[in-house]
């Protein structure tokens, strides 16, 4: 756009020079034309921008290193064309805050839609937010730009590569198989505890029918059994103390997902958690099986880290102590405040991205973590 503006300035200058030096009325006419065309476009663009809609669609998942396709669709509802349209498209990896901006130029035919196809990808895992940050309607010289409202965005998850990780569970006296805690998220099998009461749906077992309530309401009511949470393992990702090393963040995410996958493969019920550094809360999810894990990955991969702030370990102890259990895995770049205290609640295996030596800590580096963490004792 700068070259076009420069070209416009040079041409305009030459035309004015020609008008003044040679007294050319034609040069003056063209010089005026070059000014009038952008001015003439202003009211048209002001009208068109009210009738223009923008949407973005993106493919949901992507492998690391692959290119994903997403499209931006612009619809012009008027009979006026926009001869030059500038879309500023932003892509941001929410996990490591890496971002890129691309200016795309196109035109908008009257009463039609224009589709821009783009490719995006990343060498690092994370949840990518794609957004049409700004849209400008420009005259054909790109001199006057009329901004257009836009709220189009989409997401694309670059899935982490997992590696084979062998787990050895150590017996822990502090661990218990009899749980008094039940899942708040789903129904289970423990008839002694009720997860929820609801209306009968064909297919429900007659044993679930709550006769007393059915009688009271005059229709069939069933109760769903609760799911006892066996708090064997907590996998916690410390997001405070994060550095800007993209490869380290990527390594941590891959370790975390690989570990969770290994746990799920061993049919170990576990809780995955991390600290939301923006709101200073701990986010915890119970993982029963692989489907749960797959579902949680997009959320996990947008857990932005921060260098300073309240540590996740501290938050976990203070606000979510119920989640603490006998086996805990603490994944961090560097052990934060409160990490040591976790050991009072159970056996903590620390997976640390730096060289810090700690009891039961396993250190890894971003280049060799696959070899370094091929076996973990919990």
């Amino acid at each position: 756009m700068i070259s076009m503006k420069l070209g416009w300035i040079v041409l305009e200058g030459m035309l004015l020079g020609c008008f003044l030096y040679f007294g050319s009325s034609a040069a003056l006419a063209i010089a005026v034309g070059m000014i009038l065309v952008p001015l003439f476009c202003i009211p048209i663009h002001l009208y068109v921008r009210k009738k223009t809609s923008i949407s973005l669609t993106a493919q949901p998942n992507l492998k690391k290193g692959d290119s994903g396709v997403f499209t931006v669709k612009l619809t012009n509802g008027t009979m006026f064309p926009v001869l030059l349209l500038q879309c500023r498209i932003r892509i941001e990896n929410q996990l490591n805050c890496e971002h890129q901006i691309l200016n795309v130029y196109t035109w908008l035919p009257p009463k039609k839609e224009q589709v821009i196809t783009l490719n995006a990808g990343s060498g690092y895992c994370g949840r990518m937010k794609l957004s049409v940050e700004k849209v400008f309607m420009c005259d054909c010289f790109g001199i006057i730009r009329i901004p257009c409202k836009t709220n189009a965005f989409g997401y694309m998850t670059v899935q982490p590569d997992t590696f084979e990780l062998r787990i050895h569970m150590l017996s822990n006296i502090m661990s218990t198989d009899d749980s008094e805690v039940y899942s708040q998220e789903r129904a289970g099998y423990d008839m002694t505890e009720t997860y929820q009461i609801r209306e009968y749906i064909p297919g429900d077992s007659p044993r679930q029918v709550h006769w007393k309530l059915s009688n009271k309401f005059g229709r069939l009511i069933v109760r769903e059994p609760a799911l006892p949470i066996v708090q064997n393992v907590l996998v916690f990702w410390e997001r405070t103390g994060e550095t800007n090393d993209l490869r380290c963040i990527d390594a941590q995410a891959e370790i975390l997902v690989s570990l969770c996958k290994a746990l799920a493969d061993h049919s170990i019920q576990f809780t995955i958690g991390w600290n939301d550094t923006d709101h200073n809360v701990c986010i915890l999810h119970e993982i029963q099986d692989m489907d749960d894990l797959v579902g949680i990955i997009p959320r996990l991969l947008r857990a932005t880290g921060k260098k300073d702030g309240v540590s996740g370990a501290e938050l976990l102890i203070q606000t979510s102590s119920h989640a603490l259990c006998g086996h805990m895995v603490y994944v961090a770049m560097h052990p934060q405040e409160g990490a040591e205290e976790l050991q009072h609640y159970g056996h903590v295996t620390m997976l640390l991205g730096d060289e810090t030596s700690f009891a039961d800590a396993r250190n890894f580096d971003a280049n060799h973590y696959k070899e370094q963490l091929s076996q973990i004792e919990l």
Partner: protein, 765 residues
């Protein structure tokens, strides 16, 4: 986030049909630009007047199509060598024809330039061994190919460059050759430039043909409507006024001060300024004497405006005028030549010269202020063939030499020229007659408006004498008698309707009427503006040897062409006659030298103009060997540059391949090798392979951080060479980054010629 680490992500637009539209746009842009450029350049240089453009345009179109096809097939790398080879072969086989064609082109360009600027350039001599039409044909094809090749090159870099280059070349050409092709070339060229501007570039890479056409149509329609308005007479006259105002303002800013009085012959917007006592010129003289310091000179009078002879007229007589200039027969120094030829026989006449220093304080600095008795010297510009006022172009201090006591010598010189039969004098008179013919051709014109106004008065004066054909003395008598009526020395003037009524009663009006009247009666005359140093002023300045000439000394007078001597001021301007009574004859008498008996030239003036003088020759030719040497040197330079470019590209390409090698260890080792080459430019030569020893010097020179990084890179290199563990891409990017840092250090620390060496010979970046 650190910028260096942001390399994991990419975002780009899909480019499904990019090439399809791009190569078409490319061909069209290159073709249109080369056609417009060729037409422009060859029209401006006058080449079309001798040859048709068809072969040239055909060759240009062929080259563009060829390049377009090659571009589409992505084989650009072959195009340049092949075309260069073809052109070289053309030069090799048809060098004589091309050279002759070029000479023709150059000579025509020179003529057009002279017609625009009034200055001459040296002509090239044609080789006689080739046919002219064949030479022009081959040169046209060659030039067309070169032009289109350049356009293709520019288009392949960025089509948008053409949108600026094409009109720029046209405007530059119009400025240099002082020509205007408003509707023939300028408008299509500018419209083409605008279309190229809006249709090219990355903004339009993905646009469909419809979008591109829409943009062009919008511009063409909008500009078309405005162009229709632009041809309205009122708009045209307004633009002309603006141009004139601006040029006047520029002229004022460049050459004048607020105290400048002289109107430089333009009375269309004349304002009668009260003469001030501000110093206009400071004239330093060893022997102060009265002087007519001529500045602006007008030959043509039209619409209340005096102008110098048009440069196109000068160009028609280019050979004569440049020959006069080159052989020191300059019309400005004609008086000196006449004195020089006759002085040895005039023992009692003082022929001493004196140096004059002029400091222009407030006078218009566009002109040199010189008297008619100027001697040849530095102030004469031999390339300027103008016969009117001498151009100073802003110079405010200059020195020249004049003949002392010149005004007393006119009659004696004339007598001697008629009486002496010396061979030199005869030669001089022969040459002088050539210029005299030119003067009689152009300095006798009277505009119709003036004729209408004064014809009846002039006829009345002529009827007093009675003869149908007036003798010189009779003509002189009639002219002076009419001027006496118009501007009587004493008493009231007759109420006559005279031209230049806006400057009624001023020396400007007098000089104009006098020039017109003298011309009517067959005496070549011209209008002159300048400053006059009177005898009184000269007397007063005898002690200080410098005369302060103020604006009150500014005025206009008429100069007549005195056969044999040249242009001399006429004393009869009211007010001026008191100041300088001895300029031409006495009591306003004009002397007319008759050609020596039996020495009249037999040749017609036109013949003389066409045939070069045997002793002088009008054409200054550059020896053939020099021109050939120049052509070969230029060609060799171009070849050398192309060779360097190709060599550099291939080296860089190889380097890129090595750096991006799949085996990271190899790539790191290669990068380190290049890095050590780079460090060599800073004086750290890798002699025995070890680079450890430079850690300390680098620490001292560029700091600890750089030295630490350097140490790591040496380690990395050692790992890549001697360790069995594989390096990964992070190491590669790390050493690449360090290479860039080092390059920055090198570029900051070496001189420009070393930078050129590193870039073009060593090809290290």
């Amino acid at each position: 986030m650190n910028q260096k680490e942001k390399h994991g992500m990419w975002l780009r637009q899909s480019e499904p049909n990019k090439k399809e539209t791009e190569w078409m746009l490319f061909i069209l842009a290159a073709m249109a630009s080369s056609i417009v450029l060729l037409l422009t350049v060859f029209e401006l240089t006058g080449f079309f007047s001798i040859y048709t453009p068809l072969p040239m345009l055909c060759s240009a179109v062929c080259v563009c199509i060829g390049y377009g096809i090659v571009y589409k097939r992505n084989q650009q790398k072959w195009f340049i060598p092949v075309l260069l080879f073809v052109l070289m072969m053309m030069v090799w086989i048809g060098r004589i024809w091309i050279m002759n064609g070029f000479c023709e082109f150059w000579n025509h360009m020179g003529s057009v330039w002279t017609a625009g600027s009034g200055r001459v350039i040296s002509k090239l001599t044609l080789t006689n061994t080739s046919d002219q039409s064949t030479s022009l044909l081959i040169f046209s094809i060659f030039a067309g190919s070169i032009f289109s090749f350049l356009c293709c090159g520019l288009a392949s870099i960025e089509i948008r460059i053409l949108s600026v280059v094409v009109p720029m070349v046209l405007l530059l050409g119009m400025g240099v050759f002082h020509q205007t092709y408003e509707f023939t070339y300028l408008i299509p060229c500018l419209l083409l430039a605008m279309c190229l501007l809006v249709c090219s570039g990355k903004e339009n890479q993905h646009d469909s043909i419809i979008a591109i056409m829409s943009k062009c149509m919008l511009i063409l329609v909008c500009c078309g409507v405005l162009l229709m308005a632009a041809v309205l007479p009122s708009v045209k006259s307004w633009t002309k006024d603006v141009q004139e105002d601006l040029q006047e303002a520029l002229h004022h800013a460049k050459y004048e001060t607020v105290y400048t009085t002289l109107p430089e012959g333009d009375f269309s917007r004349y304002i009668d300024k009260e003469p001030t006592k501000q110093t206009a010129l400071v004239v330093g003289m060893e022997h102060p004497e009265e002087l007519y310091l001529r500045g602006f000179t007008g030959a043509v009078f039209e619409n209340d405006k005096w102008t110098a002879l048009d440069s196109s007229i000068l160009a028609e007589h280019e050979e004569l005028l440049s020959w006069l200039n080159q052989n020191e027969r300059n019309p400005h120094t004609q008086y000196e030549q006449a004195v020089g030829l006759t002085s040895e026989d005039m023992e009692h006449v003082d022929t001493q010269k004196q140096t004059i220093t002029v400091q222009n304080i407030n006078a218009c600095s566009r002109y040199l202020y010189v008297p008619y008795n100027l001697c040849a010297g530095e102030v004469l510009d031999k390339n300027n063939i103008s016969t009117d006022g001498m151009i100073a172009n802003g110079r405010r201090t200059y020195v020249y030499t004049i003949h002392l006591g010149g005004t007393d010598m006119v009659r004696k010189i004339l007598g001697n020229l008629q009486n002496l039969g010396k061979e030199e004098i005869q030669n001089y008179l022969k040459q002088e007659q050539v210029y005299r013919t030119f003067v009689y051709q152009y300095y006798l014109d009277i505009p119709d408006s003036v004729k209408e106004q004064l014809l009846s008065y002039w006829k009345e004066e002529a009827s007093v004498v009675g003869n149908e054909t007036l003798t010189f003395e009779q003509a002189q008598f009639c002219a002076l008698s009419f001027l006496e009526k118009c501007f009587p020395k004493e008493g009231e003037s007759m109420n006559l309707s005279l031209p230049l009524a806006i400057a009624e009663g001023s020396s400007y009006q007098y000089a104009t009427v006098a020039a017109m009247t003298l011309r009517y009666f067959g005496i070549p005359a011209r209008y002159v503006e300048g400053y006059i140093i009177t005898k009184d002023m000269a007397e007063k300045a005898k002690d200080v040897n410098a005369v302060n000439v103020d604006e009150s000394c500014a005025g206009a007078w008429v100069e007549v062409y005195q056969d044999g001597i040249g242009w001399l001021p006429m004393q009869i301007t009211p007010g001026i006659e008191k100041q300088t009574p001895n300029a031409v004859g006495e009591e306003g008498q004009l002397s007319k030298m008759k050609p020596p008996k039996g020495k009249e030239l037999e040749e017609e003036p036109e013949d003389i103009l066409e045939e070069p003088e045997p002793q002088g020759g009008y054409v200054i030719s550059i020896p053939k060997i020099i021109s050939w040497t120049i052509v070969w040197i230029v060609l060799l330079c171009i070849l050398f540059i192309v060779f360097l470019m190709i060599r550099r590209n291939s080296i860089l390409k190889k380097r890129r391949q090595r750096w991006e090698s799949e085996v990271t260890n190899d790539a790191v080792a290669w990068i380190f090798a290049d890095l050590s080459n780079l460090l060599e430019q800073l004086g750290y030569v890798r002699e025995n392979g070890s680079m450890w020893e430079y850690v300390t010097p680098l620490k001292q020179r560029f700091g600890t951080v750089y030295a630490d990084q350097y140490e790591q890179m040496v380690m990395l290199n050692a790992r890549s060479l001697f360790s069995s563990s594989k390096l990964d891409d992070s190491h590669r990017s790390c050493i690449k980054t360090f290479f860039q840092d080092t390059l920055k250090h090198v570029l900051d620390n070496v001189k420009w010629y070393k930078k050129l060496w590193i870039k073009w010979i060593r090809c290290l970046y």
